[in-house]
């Protein structure tokens, strides 16, 4: 989970690392955009070999929820 958060945070440029917690609602982050979503999906495929769909991403709100989707696939 810790590593997943780090990889997730790497897709951002300006947001402080401390702002990324399991319960963080990532869409509320100032820097979040649909483009960040694409980068996150790409990271998940490259690092975890899991192909997320846009619907997968849309179905979750927090980083932990996303992590659970990734590990369940």
């Amino acid at each position: 989970m810790k590593e997943f958060i780090k990889n997730f945070a790497n897709q951002f440029d300006d947001t402080e690392l401390s702002e990324f917690q399991p319960e963080t609602k990532f869409r509320d982050l100032e820097e979040w955009s649909s483009l960040t979503g694409l980068a996150v999906m790409n990271m998940v495929e490259k690092k975890y070999g899991v192909k997320l769909t846009v619907l997968d991403l849309r179905s979750v709100n927090t980083i932990e929820e996303l992590y659970n989707v990734v590990t369940s696939k």
Binding site: L35, T36, L38, N42
Partner: protein
């Protein structure tokens, strides 16, 4: 025999669409966020009766005037566009006449988008090296905004219209190196205007909106952002590596990288993937947006003006097709 970029000029249509205007149409959009993420503050929009051919002519006239080029020397004109003036003839043939170029001048269109500038340079270099032509006028011009549905805020934010003119000669400021080119037609439907040409001549009038209120219509430009993102993050690093190998260079020997200016987020993502520092990465998007095949010549023109185009410059285009291409420019 070597081939060089001798001169570059560009033309942008008069009408400007600002982020403020876009946000007034799409209140859920934020002016700052668009500027920060996509990196575009304004884009130029072709007039209703202004075509890619019209803009290419203007860019060429500007080139001739700016550098005092005698148009009699042009013995080939290539226009790269996906918004030609007609189905037939080639817009390049019409341009030969409009520019008053010699009738012994060859002319044709190349139908490519974001990778078009590299393919145009490859063709021009091929003509020079093989002795087919001595001075190739390479034009890139696009009016994608005419293909975009008015409610398609994403694409209206990214794309702008424009044209560029490049003279490729046996002398110049940037020697054109070896190329890495590639294609994967499986991505054809990821960025497409489906209706209007031969496969589907009649308009389909099948407009529908998805859950994000994004319009989907066969009669308009469709872009699958995720597919494009995945394709570029896979293809571009491989292409960069191949280009460096073919030019016997390593990334450390590259002085400036100029990618197709797709949008700021995307190209910065690629920059980080490739571990290229910001100082060697050129971005010119703010006032023009993504002008498709003209983003690289426009960026090169501005980089020359800023005195940043020296040494080995890596240029790379990628997108619609899927199609990609890159080369090294050895600059003085």
């Amino acid at each position: 025999m070597k081939a060089y970029i001798n001169a570059i000029s560009y033309y942008l249509p008069e009408k400007v669409l600002t982020n403020e205007e876009l946000v007034s149409e799409f209140p859920e959009w934020s002016v700052e966020k668009v500027a920060n993420k996509v990196g575009v503050v304004q884009r130029h929009i072709s007039a209703k009766d202004e075509t890619a051919g019209d803009m290419a002519v203007k860019a060429a006239e500007k080139l001739f005037e700016e550098y005092g080029i005698d148009k009699k020397i042009i013995d080939f004109v290539v226009l790269c566009t996906q918004s030609p003036d007609y189905f037939l003839p080639s817009t390049a043939c019409v341009i030969q006449s409009r520019l008053g170029l010699s009738t012994s001048c060859g002319a044709f269109d190349i139908n490519l988008g974001c990778s078009g500038y590299e393919y145009g340079l490859a063709v021009a270099k091929g003509f020079l090296v093989s002795g087919i032509a001595k001075n190739v006028l390479l034009l890139t011009a696009e009016t994608y905004t005419k293909y975009i549905h008015p409610k398609d805020k994403g694409n209206r934010t990214i794309f702008g219209d424009g044209a560029a003119a490049t003279l490729v000669s046996m002398e110049g400021f940037a020697e054109i190196g070896e190329f890495s080119l590639g294609t994967n037609g499986q991505g054809a439907e990821s960025l497409i205007v489906k209706a209007g040409a031969s496969r589907c001549f009649e308009k389909l009038n099948d407009l529908a909106f998805d859950e994000n209120h994004t319009p989907h219509s066969s009669d308009h430009l469709f872009m699958d952002g995720k597919a494009i993102f995945d394709f570029t993050s896979d293809a571009v690093p491989i292409m960069v590596e191949d280009t460096l190998a073919k030019n016997l260079l390593s990334l450390d020997n590259v002085d400036l990288v100029v990618f197709h200016q797709a949008n700021k987020y995307m190209i910065n993502y690629l920059r980080k993937l490739l571990d290229i520092d910001k100082e060697r990465f050129y971005i010119f998007l703010e006032n023009v947006g993504n002008t498709v095949s003209s983003t690289i010549p426009i960026a090169l023109y501005e980089a020359v003006k800023e005195d940043r185009l020296h040494g080995n410059v890596l240029i790379a285009g990628f997108g619609v097709g899927f199609s990609w291409g890159a080369t090294i420019l050895k600059c003085k």
